[in-house]
C-alpha cells in the first residue's frame, strides 16, 4: 500500500513537473468568456473598457515572463492578448494558409513585444529583480524570434547587445556572452581582445 502511494505520489509529482515545464497552452492563462467586439458598430465600443483590457493584457504578459513561448494549437484567447488584439490577430492569421501556425507565431511575438516594451520602459533601478528576470527571458527567446522571422538577424543582434548592457555589468564577460548569443542566431564574429579570463 505504501509502495502504491509512493508510486502515485511520484507520478503526480512528475505530472506536476511536466505540467509546469510544458509550454503548451495552460488553461488558467486562457480566457473563455469571449464577447466579440463589433467593429461595424464603433459607437458601441467603450474606450475606457478597451484601455483597461489593454492594460490587463500587458500585465498578464509580464507575469508570464520566464515561461517559454507557447506551442500547439491556440483556440482560445490567452489572457495577455486583449480582446481587440485577439480579433485582429485571428483575422490576420486566417488570411494565411497555415493559419494555426501563424496565429501561434503572432501570439508569441505579441507577448515578446509586450515584455520587451515593458523592459525598455523601465529604468534599471526600477523593479530591479523583475527587470533582470524579464531581460534574461527576452535574451533567451531571441533565437526563437529570429527563427520565426519576427526579428532580422541584425535587429536581433542589436537587441542582444542592449539587453546584455544591462544584464552583464562586466565588459569582458559581456563581450564573450555577446559572442555566444550571436552564435545562437547564426551570427559569428571574433573578439579581437578581451580582459576576461574564464
Amino acid at each position: 500500500m505504501k509502495t502504491l502511494a509512493l508510486m502515485l505520489a511520484v507520478i503526480m509529482l512528475a505530472a506536476t513537473g511536466w505540467y509546469y515545464h510544458d509550454n503548451r497552452i495552460k488553461p488558467d492563462s486562457l480566457v473563455t468568456d469571449e464577447a466579440v467586439i463589433d467593429f461595424d458598430d464603433p459607437a458601441a465600443l467603450d474606450p475606457q473598457q478597451l484601455v483597461a483590457e489593454q492594460s490587463a493584457a500587458a500585465d498578464a504578459a509580464l507575469t508570464l515572463a520566464g515561461e517559454p513561448p507557447l506551442a500547439g494549437n491556440i483556440t482560445q484567447r490567452p489572457e495577455f492578448v486583449s480582446r481587440i488584439e485577439w480579433q485582429i490577430l485571428k483575422g490576420v492569421a486566417a488570411a494565411r494558409e497555415n493559419s494555426e501556425q501563424e496565429l501561434l507565431r503572432l501570439v508569441n511575438y505579441l507577448r515578446f513585444s509586450k515584455q520587451l516594451e515593458w523592459w525598455q520602459s523601465q529604468q534599471p533601478d526600477q523593479n530591479h529583480h523583475q527587470h533582470i528576470r524579464v531581460g534574461w527571458k527576452l535574451l533567451n527567446e531571441i533565437p526563437e524570434r529570429v527563427e520565426q522571422q519576427d526579428l532580422a538577424a541584425d535587429q536581433a543582434q542589436q537587441l542582444q547587445l542592449a539587453l546584455l548592457e544591462v544584464l552583464e555589468p562586466d565588459a569582458g564577460k559581456r563581450r564573450h556572452h555577446l559572442e555566444r548569443e550571436a552564435a545562437r542566431i547564426g551570427v559569428t564574429f571574433r573578439i579581437e581582445s578581451s580582459s576576461y579570463t574564464p
Binding site: F39, D40, P42, A43, L45, L50, V51, Q54, S55, A58, A61, E85, Q87, I88, L89, K90, G91, V92, A94, A95, R96, L106, Y109, L110, S113, K114, L116, E117, Q149, D150, L151, A152, D154, Q155
Partner: protein, 601 residues
C-alpha cells in the same frame, strides 16, 4: 553633281510610277560573308542608290522581353553629302509575328544617335552583340509591329571613317536603306508600304534632313511622318554649346566626321596640333560613352595649331561655310513632323531646336513640338512611347494639326551648367512605390504624388537625392475588421549612393534611402485614434540597379528588394500590436522612378 542627282531623282520618280521597286533593275543581291569581311565591300561597277549589294541573316539582341524578330545585315549603295557614291551597312529587323494592322507592314527608318567612330561601334555590330544603347527604342518599335530599318550611316565599312554629322549623307543612307530592304529575299518588306523616320540627336538631325530632301532624293518613298528629337539644327550654336562642356566629345566627333566628308574645307592636318592629332586618333578608336568621358570638358583650343579658339576656327571661311551647310530649316517638311527636346538637355541646346520649329512653321510645315522635362539621354528614351503613338496615328491616316499655332511661351533651357561634372538631375520625378507588408500580407501603395529627386553625378560617381511622400491612407484588409490607417513616410537624411555609366552604356546604381514610417492614426469607420507612432529607427531601403542607360527614361528604373522594419514606438497601448503586425524582416518593396510627362509647345 547636281545634274546627276537630278537625273537620279527623275529616274526614281519614273521607277516609282511604274510600281517597280527602285533598285529592281539591278542584279540580284547576293548573300554576303558571315564574318567581318561582310564590311569589306566588293569592288563593283557603278549602280543605283539603294541597290542592295549583299545581305546576310543576322541575329540582333534587343534586350529582355523584346518581340521575336528576323533580321538581316545589308550592304547597299548610297551617296555621300557631296554626291559621291558610297557603300553603307545597316540592319533590317522584321517582327516574326504577322502584321495585324491594315495594309502592308509599316516601315520605320530608325536614324541612330551618336555611336562612336570606331568600326566596332557600328549599330549593326552593337545590335548583334546586344550592346546597342538604343535597342530599347528599336525594341519598342518592333513591339508595335513595325519593321525597323537601321542604317549604320556612312563610314563603318572596313578602312573607312564615319562622316559623322554630315547631315545630307546620313539622310541619303537612311533613305536608301528603304530601297535596299525591299530587295532582301524573303524579308517581306514592301517598298511601297507606309514609312516613317525616327531619330534622336544625330538621328534627329538625320530625320530632319530626310524631311528636307525626301522629295528630291526619294520621291517614291511613301513617307507619312517624321519624328526628330534632340536635333542639332544650328551647327555654330551647337558647337559653342558643346565647347569645353560635358558633351565636348560630340564636338570633336563632328570635327572629325565633317573633316572626313569635307577634307578640303576642314583640313584637319593643318588645323590640329600634336595633341589634336592624338585626340583625333583616339576619337576614331572609341565608341560613344568612352569618348564622352575621355574628352569631357575639353576645349577645341587645346587641339588646334596656335591654340585657336572655337570662334576663331568657326570664322575660317571654309569651315564656316561647311558648318552652315549642315544647318536645317531651309525647306518645308512635306509630311507631319514631331519635334521634341529635353528642357534640361546639356548636349544639344533647346533654343536652336525651338528656332527650327519656327523655321518649319514659317514654311507651313505640319509641326508638333513636344517639350520633355529632362536632359539629353533621359529624353531619348522617355520619348519612345509618345513618338510611337504619334507615328502610329500617322500610319493610321489620322490627321494632325500640329502645334505651330500656340500661345504658350517658348521653352527655355533648365540644363545644368556646361563644363564641370556630368550630372543627370532627377527633378521631382514621380515615384511609383509599394511595400508588401510581410505579416499582414498586404500592399501599401504610396500616393501618386510621391516624388524622388536626385543628382546623379556620373563624373564623381555619386548619387544624392531625396524622397517626398505626402501622408496617405491605406486600408488594411483584416478578416472581419475594416481597419483604416493613415500612414506617412518621411525620408531620413538624403538618399546617397554611387552611380556609374560604363563604356557600353550600362548604368549601375548602389545606394540607400532611409525613411521613418509613421502611423498617424488608426481606426474603424469614423472612429479614428490618433497615434503618431512610428518605426523606432529608420527603415533602410537599398536602391540598387544595374541595366541599360535607357532605363533612366523609359520607365524601367526600378529599385526593389527586401528589407526589415524595426519595432514601432509611440503607439500607446497598441504599440506591441503594431510591432507584431508591422515589424520584422521580409518586407518587400518596389520603387520605380520615371520622368514627369512632356508638354506640347
Amino acid at each position: 553633281m547636281k545634274q546627276l542627282l537630278k537625273k537620279s531623282a527623275l529616274l526614281c520618280t519614273l521607277l516609282a510610277g511604274s510600281g517597280l521597286p527602285f533598285a529592281s533593275v539591278s542584279a540580284a543581291p547576293m548573300q554576303g560573308p558571315q564574318d567581318i569581311s561582310f564590311y569589306t565591300p566588293p569592288v563593283m561597277a557603278g549602280g543605283m542608290q539603294g541597290e542592295l549589294i549583299w545581305y546576310r541573316p543576322a541575329t540582333v539582341q534587343l534586350g529582355d522581353g523584346a518581340a521575336a524578330v528576323q533580321a538581316w545585315n545589308v550592304l547597299y549603295r548610297s551617296t555621300d553629302a557631296r554626291g559621291n557614291a558610297n557603300l553603307v551597312t545597316g540592319t533590317v529587323i522584321v517582327p516574326t509575328a504577322a502584321w495585324s494592322g491594315g495594309g502592308d507592314r509599316p516601315l520605320i527608318g530608325y536614324a541612330v544617335g551618336t555611336h562612336g567612330l570606331a568600326q566596332q561601334c557600328a549599330p549593326s555590330m552593337q545590335l548583334a552583340a546586344g550592346k546597342d544603347y538604343e535597342s530599347a527604342n528599336i525594341a519598342a518599335a518592333i513591339g508595335a509591329g513595325y519593321a525597323v530599318l537601321v542604317s549604320d550611316n556612312p563610314g563603318y565599312t572596313t578602312g573607312a571613317t564615319p562622316t559623322y554629322l554630315a547631315g545630307r549623307a546620313q539622310a541619303h543612307a537612311n533613305l536608301d536603306l528603304f530601297r535596299a530592304a525591299a530587295q532582301i529575299p524573303g524579308a517581306g518588306i514592301n517598298g511601297n508600304a507606309k514609312a516613317a523616320l525616327w531619330g534622336y540627336s544625330q538621328g534627329g538631325q538625320t530625320a530632319a534632313w530626310v524631311g528636307e530632301i525626301k522629295s528630291s532624293y526619294a520621291p517614291e518613298l511613301n513617307l507619312v511622318g517624321i519624328a526628330a528629337g534632340g536635333t542639332p539644327a544650328d551647327f555654330p550654336r551647337t558647337a559653342r554649346y558643346l565647347e569645353a562642356s560635358t558633351g565636348a566629345s560630340f564636338l570633336l566627333g563632328a570635327v572629325i566626321g565633317l573633316g572626313e566628308q569635307y577634307p578640303e574645307d576642314i583640313p584637319l592636318d593643318e588645323l590640329a596640333n600634336a595633341d589634336g592629332q592624338a585626340a583625333i586618333a583616339t576619337g576614331k578608336s572609341q565608341c560613344v560613352f568612352e569618348s564622352l568621358f575621355t574628352f569631357m570638358n575639353d576645349s577645341i583650343s587645346e587641339y588646334t595649331v596656335g591654340n585657336q579658339t572655337l570662334d576663331e576656327v568657326i570664322a575660317i571661311p571654309s569651315v564656316n561655310q561647311t558648318l552652315m551647310a549642315q544647318n536645317l530649316g531651309s525647306k518645308k517638311i512635306p509630311v507631319p513632323i514631331y519635334q521634341y527636346h529635353g528642357k534640361a538637355d546639356e548636349f544639344i541646346p533647346i533654343d536652336q531646336h525651338v528656332e527650327l520649329k519656327r523655321d518649319y512653321c514659317r514654311k507651313f510645315s505640319n509641326v508638333t513640338f513636344a517639350v520633355y522635362p529632362s536632359e539629353h539621354i533621359v529624353t531619348q528614351f522617355q520619348a519612345a512611347p509618345h513618338v510611337l503613338s504619334w507615328l502610329g496615328d500617322r500610319f493610321a491616316g489620322k490627321a494632325t494639326y500640329g502645334t505651330c499655332l500656340t500661345f504658350k511661351p517658348a521653352p527655355t533651357s533648365t540644363a545644368n551648367p556646361g563644363g564641370g561634372n556630368f550630372v543627370v538631375s532627377l527633378d521631382e520625378w514621380p515615384l511609383d512605390a509599394r511595400i508588401e507588408l510581410n505579416t499582414l500580407a498586404q500592399t501599401v501603395q504610396l500616393p501618386s504624388t510621391a516624388t524622388f529627386s536626385a543628382d546623379t553625378d556620373i563624373t564623381d560617381q555619386s548619387l544624392t537625392g531625396s524622397l517626398s511622400v505626402p501622408g496617405f491612407t491605406s486600408s488594411l484588409k483584416i478578416i472581419g475588421i475594416p481597419l483604416d490607417i493613415r500612414l506617412q513616410v518621411d525620408a531620413v537624411g538624403p538618399t546617397t549612393g554611387t552611380v556609374s555609366l560604363d563604356n557600353e552604356g550600362q548604368l549601375s546604381i548602389n545606394g540607400l534611402s532611409r525613411a521613418d514610417i509613421t502611423v498617424r492614426s488608426a481606426g474603424f469607420s469614423f472612429l479614428q485614434i490618433p497615434f503618431g507612432c512610428k518605426t523606432s529607427s529608420p527603415v533602410d531601403f537599398p536602391i540598387n540597379f544595374s541595366g541599360p542607360v535607357s532605363s533612366l527614361g523609359n520607365g524601367n528604373l526600378t529599385f526593389s528588394g527586401t528589407t526589415s522594419f524595426p519595432a514601432l514606438s509611440g503607439c500607446g497601448l497598441f504599440n506591441s500590436l503594431f510591432t507584431t503586425l508591422m515589424s520584422g524582416p521580409g518586407q518587400q518593396y518596389m520603387f520605380n522612378v520615371s520622368p514627369p510627362a512632356p508638354t506640347s509647345w
